[in-house]
Amino acid sequence: MLETFGHLPVAWLLFAVLAAAAFMAFYVGRTQAVGIARGYTSQLNSQPNYHGYFVAMATIAPAAIILFLYMLFGESLVRAQFASELPERIRALGDLELGQYIDRISEHATRRDATATGNALFDAASDRYTNLVGLSRIAAILLAVLAAAGGFFFGRSRLSGDFRARARVEDGIKFLLFLCAAIAILTTIGIVASLLFEALRFFSRVNVFSFLFGTEWNAQTGADFGAIPLFFGTFLIAFLAMLVAAPIGLFSAIYLSEYASPRVRSIVKPILELLAGIPTVVYGFFALQFVAPIVRSSATWINGLPFIPDGFLAAQPTSALAAGLVMGIMIIPFVSSLSDDVINAVPQTLRDGAYAMGATKSETVKQVVMPAALPGVIAALLLAVSRAIGETMIVVMAAGQRAQITPDPTADLTTITVQIVALLTGDTEFDSAKTLSAFALGFVLFIVTLIFNLIALRVVKKYREKYE
């Protein structure tokens, strides 16, 4: 959309004009207020500057709203008008083909080096489209200018000695801040809605229950959509990761907050948190290049031991264990950093109480500090789990592609995220059950991590209430 409206110079010019209008409005409003006061500005309800801000606000707000609406709906208006002018035989096409036709025209029309194609109808349509876009732009700018002028005069008419400009400006600032918060929330809602919409389209073709409880997954051939093997792989790998991250992260948090001297702490803590900054793709090839071969050769060695049946372990070149181990290392800082915070939040008086009873440091940690910090630690672990479930790159590289249910961690497994990547990369048609299943998987993933995060937040909140 921005390509058609936000031809950079036009956008910048508009921006500059708006800014200049705001300055002018401010100046006019301020001068008018000074005039009203006749030198006794303390007689005014609000200081002249606030009158200035108010007039500036009244001037640019309507114009900004109109331009924003044009950004959102301008193109669809143009396209609707354009479609209604097309010859009957083209309009008779289905919605999809008509849309594609207009897409082609608008793409051609907006290319700066567009030349005639030789197709007279196409060229004429393209010219008309350019024409319409230009018209719509001029209309929008004119409307904006009119609105700005209207706002300016409205703002001036409100000014008087008793006018509470300061309160109005406060309202304006409040609204602006609210708008910023609303954008973040609306974006999230939009993402969820699109995910839900596509997932529903998928469920109109595939039964919800056979998706959630089916044990066969062959999405690439478009045959079976039983997601249980994916859930199993996801949770097995997350479980393996937590086996690594929970004890190491928790114990290093205890060491850092209870035992380490400030000097050691100031060195170790940043290094530990550095782990969180390593790109996951680096962890991915670490898993693939170093850990997976070790897992495989160890599994082969175990298979060769006496009394172990042949082929006891799968010993695949990519394995759930390799991905799980490396993912565990990746989420150590999530566990340790959050746990460190909650352990530090345990009041010192509790430790003093235990020490004064003659408890040693480890007794104090085990019996007093950890029980007090437990809810926060659980929340940290839940957040780490949801991170592990949503992690993509490591499993794409090191976990494998085969959808199977096996407790053997040296076998190759696939996860929800791996399948989403596999289904959506490359040439895909966005209308087949195969592609849509990716959205269904994404929706399930979203719901699961959302639940984990909600529980974690609730637990943290409860814990906070206790010690304040």
């Binding site: 001297s261 400030p262 009041p347 008086t349 509790l350 430790r351 003093d352 109480g353 235990a354 020490y355 004064a356 009873m357 003659g358 408890a359 040693t360 007794e363 019996q367 007093v368 029980p371 007090a372 206790k466």
Partner: protein, 273 residues
């Protein structure tokens, strides 16, 4: 006891107790405490009698809490703190590196400014000390220790029906008596109290003071307080600290009626501090 009295009468210093009506439990000699480079306690020597209440008074930051924490080596838990000098408790120097502070603290209980019950049940709060020191064998014996401690702290009647309820759910005054019961449960010889009533209302304070008066029959109690009235009400001996120094030490009655030092006079009459 004779030896203690001899030792006591030989030393001439206003910082010594005026009379010797009871045996000495804690004998502090030339204590200095440093926080980093800052000298928080300057050469304090002081003898504390057994089975009595000794009050430490003085303006904020005068070092009375720091000095109190020397007696169970709680200053060990502060990285930058360094304590020099000797503290004899029943003849043994507790600052000797050979003394295990963990064992020492089972003999010297402590109650803090803010009630700090552990995030456990009332029962487990009391049983905490006896458990880590192995003082009770079996459930029946532990039940007895818990009941006795709560009775001594005057809390039994109020909590006997909800021993499994969390200790943090009690009122402030009850929590503080729980902390006192917790300290008593390991049968200490000395109980240190660091402004035990500063977070409590007057009624809860009166109950704690009553309790301190009863406990005096069995324990050596040292209490830091900001309230002159409290020091006058509960203590037999009073020590006045100022800027890390011990200014005056003697019978509470005399300190409050006839102080030797102008500073003590000024402080107890409220002219500074």
């Amino acid at each position: 006891m004779d030896g203690n009295m001899e030792h006591f009468t030989q030393t001439k210093s206003s910082a010594r107790a005026d009379t010797a009506s009871a045996p000495i439990k804690v004998d502090c000699q030339n204590i200095d405490v440093y926080y980093g480079d800052k000298r928080a306690i300057e050469d304090i020597s002081l003898e504390i009698e057994d089975r009595s209440v000794t009050a430490f008074i003085g303006p904020s930051g005068c070092g009375k809490s720091t000095f109190l924490r020397c007696m169970n080596r709680m200053n060990d838990t502060i990285e930058s703190a360094k304590v020099t000098g000797k503290i004899f408790m029943d003849g043994a120097n507790i600052n000797d590196p050979a003394i295990d502070p963990v064992l020492l603290r089972s003999r010297v209980g402590m109650v803090f400014q803010k009630p700090n019950p552990f995030p456990k049940s009332i029962y487990d709060n009391i049983a905490y000390g006896p458990r880590i020191h192995g003082l009770a064998s079996g459930k029946a014996e532990m039940d007895e220790v818990v009941e006795n401690s709560l009775r001594k702290a005057g809390l039994w009647e109020e909590v006997k029906d909800r021993l499994q309820a969390p200790g943090t759910g009690l009122s402030g005054g009850q929590q503080q008596r729980l902390c006192i019961a917790r300290a008593i449960a390991v049968s200490p010889e000395v109980i240190l109290m660091d402004e035990p009533c500063s977070a409590l209302d007057p009624i809860a304070t009166a109950k704690i003071e009553e309790l301190i008066d009863e406990l005096r029959e069995r324990y050596c109690i040292v209490i830091v307080t900001h309230s002159m009235q409290q020091a006058a009400r509960v203590s037999q001996k009073t020590a006045f600290f100022h800027l890390g120094k011990l200014i005056e030490y003697g019978d509470t009655e005399r300190i409050f009626t006839n102080p030797e030092h102008g500073r003590t006079q000024d402080y107890i009459t409220g002219r500074f501090g």
